[in-house]
Amino acid sequence: MVSTNTDDSFVVFDGVQKSYDGENLVVKDLNLSIAKGEFLTMLGPSGSGKTTCLMMLAGFETATNGAIRLGGKEINNIPPHKRGIGMVFQNYALFPHMTVAENLSFPLEVRKIGKSEREAKVKRALDMVQMGDFGGRRPAQLSGGQQQRIALARALVFEAELVLMDEPLGALDKQLREHMQFEIKHISDNLGITVVYVTHDQTEALTMSDRVAVFEDGRIQQLAPPDELYEQPKNSFVAQFIGENNTLMGKVEKIDKDLAVVRLDNGDLIDTVPVNVSGVGDRTLVSIRPERVEFNRERLLPDAHTLKAEVLEFIYMGDIYRTRLRVAGKDDFIVKTRNAPDQRRLKPGEMIEIGWRPQDCRALDA
């Protein structure tokens, strides 16, 4: 876990717990520190507690136990409208009876900002999301993407330092979603605001965030930058939740500092990095990314362990080939290869040998 309570931490969850019914904890002992200007994503399946955390930060839910601090000040008992946190909702929550400009003007009006200043700020915010000409429209007259931009502009117009986003792109189609991901990222970088972003879409989390907190069962399973999260998952949940993943079950045969040999259930031996296995004889779940599997013998280390595999299916996907193999008795082992001129297309029924660099294969908790 990255440092908590350092000087630059802007938002701090300190031992926060949340229970709705007094019997079950939805959030169990959350400790999280977010730096100023950071883009942090809370990622997790539904019911993992990520939205509850966001709502506690926004003030719509109260923490059952523990403290939430914003800029060094405890905010547990401050009502939402005094927290000064911008928020973008899943369904945008644009007020349907107001025009776009009125929507943006609303947070400024309740802050008693003068008319001319209000208009200038609204215009600036609209220009920022490239919606300058839409001030007079009603939300219902806008497309989903346009509404999304307005919702973003509204959360930013009163110059909040912290902006919360609750699955803001969930209602958009794939192409627009990808476009908006970059746009939100750029705007937040340019303004230097702190963003806490909740999503269940791992691609979104990886492409946008400085750090990602993976939630499951009311706890943060791993908090790390995207590359680390993807390449070095700390446990089997994170490994399987982030990206595509091949898993094999086995027992630790031999363990060194940074190399462990695992005997799979069918007796084959493979090389792995020990992540959270403690010693010889431990049951382990071995995880390997499909794009890190190699079947070209020349590219493997000379003494590397290899596995026999039978090609079951070859799928052409344009930029990549996706091949399904039967490995160690399992027939859902996937290999992804780049569609390059020198790349070989495997044929179903073909017998090959596969292997990998030991550092790409991680022995995790079973």
């Binding site: 926004a58 911008g86 369904n91 929550a93 349907p96 309740v110």
Partner: protein
């Protein structure tokens, strides 16, 4: 492109087989339309027969006035020559009395003169008894003198067959117009009695008309007639000048002095046209008098007061329903589904009890010896001597009707509020709005369609409410609908009831229009 149908030079778009595209589309859609029509046809028919048609009939009754011109058509025509002059105006000439004599002779047979009396009695009191009395006396007039004199002249005048033959001859209608007209009445009277025309001696009024015709016609005209009974007629024509004349005016005055009153004749004339604005004038405290449109006497002006009271009380009831219903609907829409369903059942509970029971319950609660007064007295807040009067007045009506109509406000409000996502208020708060601002600027405007729908519902229901004001309204809490019901079932003045109803309908439509202009009818939602 090679697609010829797309080229602009070929004119209208054609479908593949060359027919215009519009036409083939119409043919394709016709089946669907017919199917849709067939599906709604039973309901449409039902509504037309049981709802639209009766309403149209009632609306028509508010102007319909054919009873006068149908019952006494000759009198109506004869009165055209006569003008009412205010005050000491002279009663009409003998011609009018003669016309009335024939008309009433027929009406008496069909008993329609009593209906006419009731109708005219709405306008001038005394008309009903006058016409009844006249109906009784019309057969006992001295006009049998004419009959006797004709019979004395020639006994053949007694023979109905002679009459039938004569009245069927061509040309007789020209020389004996009044007799011919009266003869038609006589034919209807005989037919009504299921008798044979050729076996019944005509009644006195036929002889009277014959006398009048013969007096009026020059001898040459009668001499020119050559049809059946020509000789008898010529004999009679030369003899009538020596007949003893009976003044019909005197005969009517013998029955009732009122027939000399110009006011009576003025009323008949004023209401002689088949359509009248009289009912509508009555509805707004005016009246159509022989001299023109006048205000009703002060002590009879009631309808404008009732219309005003109905509007005012409906507004108050609507306002109370909004005030009471809004918080409940808000609570309902924000509770978990299980709890809100339970509470909703409680809201609907009043619908399961009879309207009569609920109203009577308020009587028990609010009366002077009732539960609430008893409690207040027991608490010492009110002395036993001066118990509050809360029923049989406006207060009682407003309380009872607010209670009865409250669900009609809560339900649309609830269904609209249910559709307002909680994220709007959250968004407002996250943007810095206090609870009140978030409610007033964000939540409330979105619940306005529900208020609109509920208000229209409650207002329109209460404006036409009848049972509750009738039971708990006393004298100060009754509505215009109670008056309409009175005219429908007690005074039987359906025309006035229809006019009042029409005005009420027009007012509702007008308010609906005003609402549409101010709030916009698309701003009304039931959820």
């Amino acid at each position: 492109m090679t697609d010829a149908t797309n080229s602009p030079s070929t004119g209208p778009m054609l479908s593949a087989d060359g027919t215009p595209l519009k036409k083939s589309l119409q043919i394709a859609l016709r089946r669907q339309k017919l199917r849709a029509l067939a599906l709604v046809a039973p309901l449409l028919l039902f509504v037309l027969i049981s709802f639209i048609a009766p309403i149209a009939d009632m609306l028509f009754r508010s102007v319909e006035n054919e009873i006068v011109s149908e019952t006494i058509p000759r009198t109506v025509i004869a009165l055209e020559q006569w003008d009412y002059e205010d005050g000491n105006a002279a009663a009409p000439s003998d011609d009018v009395y003669a016309a009335l004599y024939v008309d009433l002779s027929e009406a008496e047979e069909f008993k329609t003169h009593t209906r006419l009396g009731s109708r005219l009695n709405y306008e001038t009191t005394g008309m009903s008894s006058l016409l009844r009395k006249t109906g009784r006396g019309i057969g006992r007039m001295d006009t049998d003198e004419y009959t006797k004199q004709f019979e004395a002249l020639d006994p053949k005048w007694e023979d109905p067959a002679v009459w039938v033959a004569m009245m069927q001859s061509p040309g007789v209608a020209e020389i004996l117009p009044e007799t011919a007209s009266a003869w038609q009445s006589w034919q209807r009277i005989v037919a009504n009695k299921n008798d044979v025309l050729a076996e019944e001696q005509p009644e006195d009024f036929i002889y009277t008309m014959l006398y009048r015709d013969l007096i009026a016609q020059p001898a040459s005209a009668v001499a020119a007639y050559s049809g059946s009974g020509a000789e008898m007629l010529q004999t009679a024509d030369s003899a009538v000048d020596g007949f003893e004349a009976i003044s019909l005016r005197e005969q009517f005055l013998d029955i009732d002095e009122d027939w000399a009153d110009a006011q009576i004749w003025g009323t008949i004339k004023a209401f002689s046209s088949p359509y009248t604005a009289g009912y509508f004038l009555s509805s707004v405290d005016l009246q159509l008098t022989p001299a023109g449109v006048e205000a009703q006497p002060e002590n009879q002006q009631i309808y404008m007061l009732l219309f005003g009271r109905t509007m005012f009380m409906s507004m108050v009831i609507m306002g109370s329903c909004i005030l009471l219903g809004y918080p409940i609907a808000y609570l309902l829409s924000n509770l978990p589904l299980r709890t809100s369903n339970l509470l909703l059942i409680l809201v609907l509970l009043p619908f399961w009890t009879s309207l009569l029971v609920r109203t009577s319950a308020w009587k028990v609660l609010l009366q002077q010896q009732g539960v609430i007064n008893d409690i207040l007295v027991w608490l010492g807040l009110v002395g036993d001597g001066d118990r509050l009067v809360m029923i049989n007045n406006q207060f009682g009506t407003i309380v009872a009707m607010t209670h009865i109509l409250l669900p009609f406000m809560i339900l649309p409000l609830y269904s609209v509020m249910k559709t307002i996502p909680p994220s709007y208020v959250r968004a407002a708060k996250s943007l810095g709005a206090t609870n009140w601002t978030a409610f007033w600027r964000v939540y409330f405007p979105q619940s306005v369609p529900g208020i609109g729908a509920g208000s229209i519902l409650v207002f329109i229901l209460s404006i036409g409410y009848y049972i509750t004001p009738e039971l708990v309204g006393g004298t100060t809490g009754t509505f215009i609908s109670n008056r309409i019901a009175y005219h429908i079932s007690s005074s039987l003045n359906w025309g006035l009831a229809a006019a009042l109803g029409t005005i009420l309908l027009a007012v509702v439509l007008l308010l609906y229009w005003v609402y549409d202009r101010i709030v916009g009818i698309d701003n009304v939602s039931l959820g």
